[in-house]
């Protein structure tokens, strides 16, 4: 059973082919990193009109225009600019911000911990909400509870986070006064942003968990466990849980991209000082090197996580490992 993505390891293919697959994935990753950077480089140069004039406004004096042109590296031929851009990516400085003249990477690293914190909190919230709901719905299939869970997850998938966030603020901050409206000073501040960011993921995870667990429940080993007289709870904990875990974990990895872009919006709602807020602020400041650096950085992180999720197939499931080894002997 593959859940949405092709699982190359499920076929008896042997370690050589597995190695070849990993090498292929690494080459594809490098190619994508290169291509994505190139694609982010060019839009600035396709803008109708002069970006320098666009940043400074029409009335700027020519001295400032020249200085900024130099800062942006726009006085050189296009190909040179491109090489410079790639070089700065390779030395990991990602260029210089126009706003505070610091290295782009230094700015990103300053804001990054808050985003990581938010992302982990959102994932935790998603897991805590979705796993119990999904498992319960699978065990009580076609009951009222199952219908309710299905309905809630449909709603969770359809509610945009820039609507959910303010809604939670209205209810829990303004009406009930439980949590602060915005900011990021302490642990109380993370609750609403984490719920906002985690909701669509938990809706998705609930569905996957329900599907996976109910598929497992149809298998003969569950029948045997029940025949032995195990309670439903022990059937789940000792038998179903581990088997259902892998597709759930890989789904989480695949949802990571949605979490990253969701963070941009969630951080904006709650003035949570992460890289999403930095991105939106840089866009309003027309800080082009900063925007390019951030987009490239976020995409790189996303690609790396996807790559690791792909490889984790080999590590996580002993059945797949054995399958691969058996394939090698054939």
């Amino acid at each position: 059973m593959t859940y949405g993505i092709i699982n190359p390891a499920i076929h008896p293919i042997g370690t050589i082919i597995m190695k070849r697959y990993i090498v292929k994935r690494i080459l594809l990753l490098l190619f994508l990193l290169f291509a994505v950077s190139t694609m982010i480089f060019f839009p600035v140069h396709l803008i109708p009109g002069d970006p320098v004039v666009k940043i400074l406004g029409e009335g700027a004096n020519s001295e400032d225009v020249e200085r900024l042109r130099r800062d942006l590296n726009l006085h050189k031929p296009l190909f040179h600019q491109y090489l410079d851009f790639i070089r700065r990516l390779l030395d990991l400085s990602f260029g210089k911000s126009l706003f505070n003249n610091r290295e782009v990477m230094a700015n990103i690293l300053k804001y990054l911990p808050n985003t990581i914190y938010l992302t982990i909190a959102a994932m935790t919230a998603a897991i805590l909400i979705s796993l119990p709901l999904g498992v319960l719905a699978a065990f009580k299939k076609e009951s009222l509870l199952d219908a309710a869970v299905t309905f809630i997850s449909s709603a969770g998938l359809a509610i945009p986070n820039f609507f959910l966030g303010p809604l939670l603020v209205i209810v829990f901050s303004i009406k009930l006064g439980w949590f602060p409206v915005s900011g990021c000073e302490g642990s109380k501040y993370i609750v609403l942003p984490a719920l906002t960011l985690g909701t669509s993921m938990s809706a998705f995870l609930t569905r996957i968990t329900r599907t996976v667990v109910s598929l497992e429940l149809q298998k003969p080993y569950v029948l045997l466990a029940r025949a032995k007289g195990l309670s439903e709870f022990r059937v789940f904990r000792e038998h179903v849980f581990k088997n259902a875990l892998i597709p759930v974990i890989t789904t989480m990895g695949l949802q990571f991209g949605a979490l990253l872009t969701g963070a941009v919006i969630t951080e904006t709602i709650f003035s949570w000082q992460g890289i999403g807020v930095l991105l939106v602020e840089s866009i309003t400041r027309r800080d082009y090197p900063m925007i390019q650096g951030l987009i490239v950085f976020i995409t790189f992180v996303y690609l790396l996580v996807n790559f690791l999720v792909d490889l984790s197939y080999f590590a996580l499931d002993p059945r797949i490992r054995k399958e691969v080894q058996r394939g090698a002997k054939l």
Binding site: L28, F31, L32, A35, V36, M39, I40, P43, V44, L46, I47, S154, A155, L157, A158, I159, P160, F162, F163, P166, L167, V169, I170, I174, V181, F256, G257, A258, L260, T261, G262, V264, I265, T268, I269, L279, V280, I283, T284, Y288, I291, I295, I298, T299, Y302, L303
Partner: protein, 270 residues
């Protein structure tokens, strides 16, 4: 999930979407439609003239919501039409050609799919300030690749089946094989992707408008209305709630249509 519940879901989705459009049309015909900027009526409370009050530019909130929902649906429809068209052509060429052509076309698709979520759209909107056409362009640019990969996969699945072989054996032209044998098979899956995709496009479009990266502020959009609402969350929560609920209903109905169609397909194949 049985065929019956799938049908039910499809019907609920179609009904909700139709109902929203009906309400909008009724309002346009009989309501007091006012989205022109009028600084005399700024922040007016609800009255018979402004059922839900007026915003900071003196525009009637309800009119703005109707207009914004229309803009969202229009953009969603246009983007889905364009990107599914590009995707179908791209995927058909890639899948039928095979070999090096297939590889190059698919690596290009990979590049477009490498960006997480709406990040590519954000990147483009950061550099251009789009109008409605620009918005359609940006969103098509960042969503066609999914259709291309889907169609190519379907083509590969069916390409070597007997019925294609049979068509070849009586000298059916290439175009005939595509239009009367392959496309009818792929069509249902594209419809599923298109209705789920429309929901995604509408979320992306309103997200961009919410972030202030979309249409100019004089064009009312649901995302921009919610953005205004957030800055006045203490005194005018209605600016968040009404556009938000309308957006939510549009998205959930499109999702229901897509899921209903997809489960219906799966059952039909069983």
């Amino acid at each position: 999930m049985t065929l019956k519940t799938a049908n039910m879901q499809l019907k609920i989705g179609l009904f909700l979407l139709g109902f929203m459009i009906f309400l909008g049309v009724v309002f346009l015909l009989f309501g007091n439609f006012a989205i022109h900027i009028n600084l005399d009526t700024r922040w007016q409370q609800s009255s018979s003239r402004f059922l839900l009050g007026a915003d900071e530019l003196g525009r009637d909130l309800l009119s703005c919501v109707v207009y914004g929902a229309g803009v969202s649906l229009l953009i969603g429809f246009a983007v889905v039409m364009l990107s599914s068209f590009i995707g179908v052509v791209w995927g058909l060429v890639s899948g039928m050609a095979g070999g090096i052509t297939d590889m190059i076309l698919m690596r290009i698709v990979d590049i477009f799919l490498a960006f997480p979520g709406i990040l590519l759209a954000i990147a483009l909107a950061a550099f251009f300030s789009p109008g409605i056409a620009g918005m359609v362009f940006i969103l098509t640019f960042s969503s066609w690749a999914g259709y291309a990969r889907l169609v190519r996969g379907e083509v590969l699945k069916h390409k070597h089946k007997e019925f294609i072989l049979a068509a070849r054996s009586y000298n059916a032209s290439f175009m005939r094989i595509i239009f009367s044998h392959l496309l009818p098979l792929i069509k249902p899956i594209i419809f599923v992707q298109a209705s789920l995709g429309a929901a995604g496009v509408i979320i992306a479009e309103s997200s961009l408008n919410f972030l202030g990266l979309g249409l100019d502020p004089e064009t009312p959009t649901l995302g921009q209305l919610i953005d205004t609402g957030v800055t006045h969350i203490f005194d005018r929560p209605v600016f968040i709630v009404v556009p938000g609920i309308v957006l939510f209903i549009i998205i959930i109905s499109l999702n229901f249509i897509g899921e209903g169609l997809s489960k219906g397909n799966m059952n039909a194949l069983d």
